[in-house]
């Protein structure tokens, strides 16, 4: 069910394939790093690694929530809109202080999660349809609340966006903390186990007496709240609230990170470490192409190749 159950004692070829499936994404990250060490000027510097960590943080945080949703055999398309909603609310409530405003923004993300979860668990709408509805509604609401880009001058938020402790940016620290927390929840808590059981087989989970609906709602609340946190952090980094473009296509980046990281779309399994590596892989890929000044269309093609490879590696897992 989780990555703890590694296949042992299987024939060599199957074992190799298994290893590729489980560690392919890490190999990818390593290969890209080595390539950049060798061929990209000024790549090996603390400043560069800080930049990469800061740039990947919002995508990673959103991807953690997405991994939970995908683990229950669902998907959350509303994450990008939740980021936009969070940035709007953050700007509107900043007068009460940055922490209150951030709290309101995260609360709003959780509310969107409740709506998503309620539609999926109680009304029985397909996750892709339910979250699509909230994706459209969320962006609309964000733009009604804050029709255009607004600068954020709050010093505390600016410090959050660009500050660092012992050389590690706050954004990277928060993302790492949330990743560890998510890994703990998935592996060690009843809630995590129940979510994965539901992803494996919802009817079986129901027959086994699991609180299916409550767990599903909670999963989407987590996803919404994480997306809202990502929205707050992205706003702090940009020093502006931009609901028109913040988080656009974020749902696709997050799904890519999760899938490349080896979490199957069929549910029942969440690889948090793989998701972190998946997000890092996509970030490094984009960075490599930008640093070598290759045309932007190449980035999209390269991403497509990585996704196809990841799906190819995962195809054995799909056949259960």
């Amino acid at each position: 069910m989780t990555e703890l159950t590694l296949g042992r004692g299987t024939p060599d070829r199957a074992r190799l394939l298994r290893l590729l499936q489980d560690y392919g994404v890490y190999t990818g990250v390593l290969v890209l790093l080595l390539f950049n060490f060798a061929f990209t000027p000024h790549f090996v510097s603390a400043e560069n690694f800080r930049t990469q960590a800061v740039q990947v943080a919002p995508v990673l945080i959103v991807a953690l929530g997405m991994a939970l949703a995908i683990g229950t055999e669902g998907v959350d398309l509303s994450v990008g809109s939740v980021m936009a909603l969070a940035t709007s609310l953050l700007s509107l409530y900043l007068g009460y202080g940055p922490w209150t405003a951030a709290l309101v923004a995260v609360l709003a993300g959780a509310v969107v999660g409740v709506a998503n979860g309620a539609l999926i668990a109680f009304v029985g709408v397909q996750p892709i349809v339910a979250t699509l509805a909230l994706m459209v509604a969320g962006r609309g609401l964000a733009l009604v609340l804050l029709p255009q880009l607004k600068d954020v001058h709050d010093p505390d938020l600016a410090a959050l966006g660009s500050g660092a402790v012992l050389g590690v940016p706050y954004l990277a620290l928060i993302a790492a903390l949330l990743a560890v927390l998510t890994a703990f929840v998935v592996r060690r808590t009843t809630f995590g186990r129940q979510a994965l059981a539901i992803g494996d087989s919802r009817p079986a989970a129901r027959l086994a007496g699991l609180p299916v609906r409550r767990v599903l709602v909670l999963v989407y609340v987590c996803s919404g709240a994480l997306a809202a946190i990502a929205g707050v952090l992205a706003t702090a980094r940009l020093a502006a609230s931009d609901p028109t473009s913040l988080g656009s296509l974020m749902e696709l980046s997050a799904i890519t990170a999760v899938v490349v990281g080896g979490t199957p779309l069929s549910g029942g399994r969440v690889r948090v470490g793989g998701t972190v590596a998946g997000a890092t892989l996509i970030q490094l890929l984009t960075t490599t192409l930008i640093k070598h000044d290759l045309p932007p269309s190449w980035t999209q093609i390269a991403q497509a190749v990585v996704i196809v490879l990841a799906v190819y590696a995962a195809r054995e897992r799909g056949r259960r």
């Binding site: 509107l92 733009l143 880009l149 709050d154 931009d242 930008i290 000044d293």
Partner: protein
């Protein structure tokens, strides 16, 4: 242990009710943003930079008269003008454009009907048809797309309604399907940006280009103008980096962060709109650079970018003028009186630099 179905339903209702209540609470007026004092001047209070025609409307180029177009002479003051806006008024350009049309209609005492297509082309087509049905005698259209206007043009032609398009062109015959197009020359904007870049860098060094969204004529024309002029006038200035920032601040920032790490010796950055330029400023600040270390030239002329010049981060901003109101109404007035108007009218874009940024900050939109 197992909750009954009834209990589950109740939980569901409570959850839903709680969700709804909190969203309502959020939406109601207990918001308090950072600067509620209202320091931001509204569009109507702006100094209207007015408009000067760059290419004289009637002196050169093909022209159009009401006799050639069909229809009767009318007085603009008694007519009803319909205005169809293409995109949501969510960015400074669109806000200033609509405000300019409204302000001019008010100043001229013309009855104005407006519609906004919210970036949906089918909505814009029905918007314009609605405007005609509501009795618009003259139309000002900011088209979302260039193609697909046949149904509207047919209706308008049947009633001899003069059409002026602003900021984007439609693919149709001037003086037959529509009267004139009023807009900026994006290639020229790119060339002027190149001139400013040469001036700021002394014509030597390495320049990066933050491109706009791919497949957009604004991007291709602003790039072409810039590159041609650099090649022609400053062979010592090399363009070493071209990446898209998709006209967004966030993307401009992350691309620039990568740029300044891989090419620390970069001399200048040409951003094809203000937002990406402001993203570049953020990135430079984050990398510990000082104002003026890297010369930035941008296009658009929004207030934030002009403020950037005052603060020393941006070297020059080429304006892309959104204030089409005075020119559009003057064109319609001249045309309905029976006089000649130009088919392609180029609006004058001003520019901001160290010399005028402080004094002209009020003109920026």
């Amino acid at each position: 242990m197992k909750p009954t179905a009834l209990v589950r339903r109740t939980t569901a209702r409570t959850l839903l009710a709680a969700g709804l209540m909190s969203s309502l609470a959020l939406a109601t007026g207990c918001t308090k943003s950072e600067d509620d004092s209202g320091s931001k001047p509204s569009a109507s209070k702006q100094d209207d930079a007015g408009q000067v025609v760059a290419s004289p409307g009637t002196a050169s180029g093909p022209t159009c008269t009401i006799d050639a177009y069909g229809g009767q002479k009318t007085d603009l003051r008694t007519a009803t003008v319909g205005f169809s806006q293409s995109e949501k008024e969510a960015n400074p350009f669109r806000i200033a454009e609509t405000a300019s049309i409204r302000a001019e209609a008010k100043a001229e005492g013309v009855k104005l009907l407006t519609a906004n297509a919210q970036s949906q082309f089918s909505k814009q087509i029905s918007d314009v048809q609605d405007l005609i049905a509501k009795g618009a005698d003259l139309l000002v259209i900011a088209p979302l797309n260039s193609d697909g206007w046949e149904p509207v043009l047919r209706t308008a032609a049947a009633r001899h309604i003069p059409i002026v398009t602003i900021d984007r062109k439609i693919n149709a015959t001037a003086c037959k399907d529509y009267v004139s197009f009023i807009g900026s020359d994006f290639v020229e904007q790119g060339k002027r940006a190149a001139d400013r870049m040469i001036e700021a860098t002394g014509g030597k060094g390495e320049v990066a280009v933050l491109l706009g969204a791919a497949g957009n004529n604004v991007t291709t024309e602003r790039t072409k103008g810039f590159e041609d002029r650099i090649k022609e006038k400053a062979p010592g200035l090399r363009i070493v980096f071209r990446q898209t920032g998709e006209f967004a601040r966030e993307k401009g920032q992350s691309v620039t962060e990568n740029l300044i790490q891989s090419k620390p010796g970069i001399t200048g950055i040409y951003a094809e709109n203000d937002e990406m330029g402001l993203g570049a400023v953020n990135a430079l600040k984050g990398a510990g650079k000082k104002p003026g270390d890297v010369k930035i030239v941008t296009i658009d002329g929004t207030r934030n970018a002009v403020q950037g010049i005052v603060d020393g981060w941006i070297s020059a901003v080429i304006e892309s003028n959104p204030r089409f109101g005075p020119l559009a109404f003057r064109t319609l007035d001249t045309f309905t009186k029976g006089e000649k108007v130009g088919q392609d009218i180029v609006i004058k874009d001003s520019a901001y630099d160290k010399g005028n940024a402080q004094t002209d900050l009020g003109k920026a939109y």
